[in-house]
């Protein structure tokens, strides 16, 4: 399973990719929304995990592009850090399949990922 991970915080990014690799995923980590999006255009991923606030493009912009321009159905999980409901609603409206509030619980992340991937 190929996972794209877009998160600008190095510590969180490194931790999550370490965790996901240990779970047997093939992880491509990106610290910048723009680079992540370029990679999505060129490679096929089984699932996309993305932070909301990032340099380059935001998680919402990535999701919107994946859905509306690339017309991909790749599952997208957005990491939100604000507890503002609107962000979460926006995530869904734009086409994200799940959002997970930070700090991201590894167990919950895994459950949500598996749920999306086994659909």
């Amino acid at each position: 399973m190929k996972v794209l991970l877009a998160e600008d915080n190095e510590i969180l990014r490194t931790s999550l990719s370490f965790f996901l690799k240990k779970q047997g995923f093939e992880v491509s980590p990106f610290s910048n929304g723009k680079e992540a999006l370029e990679s999505i255009k060129e490679h096929s991923y089984d699932i996309i995990l993305t932070d909301i606030n990032m340099p380059g493009f935001s998680g919402l912009e990535i999701t919107e592009y994946v859905r509306n321009t690339l017309h991909l159905e790749t599952p997208v999980i957005i990491f939100t850090s604000s507890t503002v409901e609107q962000t979460e609603l926006d995530s869904f409206r734009i086409g994200a399949n799940e959002f997970i509030a930070k700090p991201v619980s590894p167990a919950i992340l895994l459950i949500r990922m598996n749920k999306l991937l086994n659909k």
Partner: protein, 1203 residues
Amino acid sequence: MQSIILPVPQNEEERLTALLDYKILDTISEEEFDDLTLLASSICQVPIALISLIDKDRQWFKSKIGMTDAETSRDISFCQYTIMGDSIFEVQNALQDNRFKDNPFVTGQDQIRFYAGAPLIDPNGYAIGSLCVLDRVPRQLTKEQKKSLQTLSKQVINQLELRQKNIQLKNEISSLAKKALEDLSQELDSYKLALDQTSCVIITDEHGIIKFVNDTTCRVTKFSKDELIGQHNRILNSGYHQPEYFANMWQTIQNGSIWKGEIKNKAKDGSLFWADLTIVPIFDEQGKASKFLAIKSDITRQKQDEDQLKQYFDLSKDLLCIANTNGYFERLSPSFSEILGYSNEELMARPFYDFILAEDVLPTQKVISSLAAGHEVVNFEARFTCKNGGHKILSWNASPDKGTGLLFATARDITEIKARAEENKRLSFVARATDNMVVITDKTERIQWVNEPFEKITGYTFEEAMGKKPAELVQYGGTSPETKKTIREALDHHKAFRGEIQNINKAGKEYWVDLYISPIYNDKGDLINYIAIESDITEKKEKDSNIANLLATQKAIFYGVGLCVIFTDTQGVIQNINQAALNLLEYKSGDLIGKATPALFHDPEEIKKRAKDLSSELGIDLKPSFETFVIKARSKGVADANEWTYISKSGKRIPVWLSVTCIRHVNGEILGYLGVAEDNTLKKQVENELIQAKNLAEQAVFAKDSFLANMSHEIRTPLNAVIGFTELLTQSDLSQEQKEYVEHIQTAGDNLLVIINEILDLSKIDSGQLHIEEHPFNVKNTLKHVHELLKVKAQKNQLDFSLLLDAEIPETIIGDKIRINQILMNLAGNAIKFTEEGEVVISVKKTAETDQTITLRFSVKDTGIGIAESKLESIFERFRQAEESTTRKFGGTGLGLNIAKQMVELQHGKLEVKSKLGQGSEFYFSLEFKKFFDNNKELKDQHNTLDNELGKLSILLCEDNELNQRLARTVVQNFGFDIDIADNGQLGIELIKKKKYDLVLMDLQMPVQDGYQTTIMIRNELKMSIPIIAMTAHSLVGEQQKCFDIGMNAYVAKPFKQYELFEAIQDVIKKQRASTDQSQEDTSSKESLEEKLAPIDFTYLDELSGGDADFKKEMMELFIKNVPVDLQELAQAIQEKNQAQIKKSAHHMKSSLAMFQLAKGIQFLEATEQQAAGEIMDSQLPKNFQDFQTYIQSVILSLKNLL
């Protein structure tokens, strides 16, 4: 050598035919012939004897003794001569015979000398060869020998004849046998075929293992050959028969007898069948029954039934079927394929569930189970799919046959019946339930039935309407003749009509209906009824006209509005543009619509710049494009308004205020963009003028402020020294005269300070920086103090100066002591100044009281020169005194009254004056104070509280001015504290690093490194929370706030009064000690910081890493590396008050802290992020940030310790 004519018999041809007929040539040697040659050689006593047959070109030996050649050429043979005659041909010595002396047999190795041959003459007289004897020596046969040889030759012919007959006989027999065999097998084949066609043939071994099956067996049992062969014949056992049944069968056949009986078997699909069974044992050589042949058939009975059933099924028009409980049709009448479109083969090939609609499968399965259990089923409905789509509803009756497990069922196609019933149900439901009016008339258009809505809307009851024509009841006079005619024509031609018409009800009210009239025919096609359905569309009609108006209005706005309105598609191509925009831009709509984007009339440089700004603002790489205009409008979801510059077709630059809105479909899809632009040319001009004016004004204010700042600094620094040393001087031993002088200096200094303070106060008041404080204070003591201070002056003027205090005034109230003091000093000071004789009275009275507050009226009354009525208004203005001459005569700045007035107003009072020229004045005001309830707390006069409760503090002073250094040293040492002095901030930092101080007194203006820089270094780099008190002559607006913002703890203006400094020291030390006691940690010391490590929660990290130690270490190192960088970024952002950056940095750090679950830090970052997002600048932020920084520092220390 002479040539020899070779002899050929006259009948050579026939002779050869006769020879060939014997079919002897080239056959193998036969005993019968060899016996004869042996006999010949022994009778004639020669070594060689031959039976030589003369073929066309050769002599071939059927038998030979003493010769190895199988044949020789005919022309060299002796025998060719023999066959010419019918007696013995003898050559006694070949060497002497000319015919033979050169013969190879003679000259060659055979060395033949003697030859004697008897011709072999067949019964027809043909000489076919000879029986001859040969020798290598010349000799002569005896008479007897010759006779014997001839006899033997006859014997050879006899043998040949016999042989030929034998062969003929054999052939005859074999052909006969073959024919008989063919006949027989043909017969057998037909038997076998018949058997195969009608019966199952199964051969098993003695154990019952199947060795052979025929095709019929496979067809009947539904097993393939492979599935059966090798299996025990129990595979077909139905379980129907008792074990004794089979025991009997086995006993019979194992005894070698044939078994006959009826048996019920089970096929592969579970279906059961009856068969007549014959089992024949087959015996092996030992006479044991080693195989069994089983033949199963039911030809007679089945055939009959089958034929009848077939006819019944095939001819039936009804839906008949036989199915099994396993879900297969076994037999179907042809009607099924007619109805469903599948062939019967297709229907039987798959389980019938495959043809049933998914929703009906479960009910069907239940019914089949019920049938399997032996119950009958009646009128069970199930929907079957049709091959060409759709489905048919079949109603089933079915009975099970217990014996065979088969289901016998009949079905009816009730699809249409159902549909009709459904339609009827729906129609009647609709007619009753609908809000629409339903009218049914007979064919003469007379009403037969109306529904309730008709009654309600038209106002006519059913009874009233019965028998009338609808036109008589509701036709509106205003309906156009054309409409009437159209309806008439439709009805006359028995056609349906649909249209909107206006009707009128019983009460005369008009209403609009959407009318649908349809003729109704019976089965025979005769017109029987009309049905009319009418819906009331009055409201819709009205709404339509409203909407039409709305659209018209929108259009009018679009074209009529004075603003430029431009619609683009998502790519920016202009879709519509209004006249105002065309006028402004000087383009024609044809130039733009569908052809251009707004970039055409924008300043390209401006777009580039904006794209760059947005790129850095949004942190993306935005190219100058249409996106530059809309990116914010799209992400914000509301209009995004900015200043832009349009460039008209002729090149005119037009500043506009452009508001861009993203137009979305209700589903969120972006449809395009709307730009509304306002011509800003005029506005821009006005704005520019205003900005210029404002800049000028600000420059003026700045000039004033900077003048004041400079003046106060320049004057206060020396004055600080003057007043300070004078104060010290008064404390030393002086002569009376000296004391007097010193007091003069003191008074002069104080006056000068008053003037400067007044100016500074005014500057503070102007900028709103003067705050009224609320502290408990002893109001009576304050008033007494003012009286006390001014008494000396009044006495000099020989005035009666009295203080009248209302007895009801409480000792302590809450308010601003300093300001009250300042106001009264000013008013009373003025009164004394302007009164040459008589009295000055300060009086305070309580005028009102509530539970919480008390109102006091303050009055200063004199018998002085008074103020002319015309001047009463202007005396409160700045730099104004009642008379110009006053200044010359009495001195003063003319600011005092203005300051007093404003200070009263800041306390929500009003300073008023009553005066008569030459008779005196009264200045008075009323103020409301909060009551003070804590009577236990003794208020101390701060002048007398220099008692040192603080112990021996170690203080560092950073100050460049030598005089001030000396003054401060003396004062601080007098307080009982130790003091070290640094000439500038840099030296101060060095001292701090070396020695532990309790407090820093920090001058702000210093060379090398000023007080601000030094403080920032102490807080951010040394990470020390040591109290810092700012000391400055620069007591300007905002100064104090700036000091607090960078982390100083208190502020003392120079020149300082001793008690003010002491108070400040006491205040910060007490606060420091309080917080230290509370948190049980001394953060001012680096050593103790290290001792105290922040607790770190690794559970989250452990969950992520699965306890991987290397990974954990890596994360800790990353934290130590990254977080201080983030921290520095945040510090800078806070200092620059860059809200966007604060938000970004705080947000970024949050995730790092979350890794180690640093809740305290996260809390700070969250609050900071939210405040920054809301553009709120919390004055506590620099202070809180310091705490945060200290906290992170301790976390990093903890992490380093763990590594």
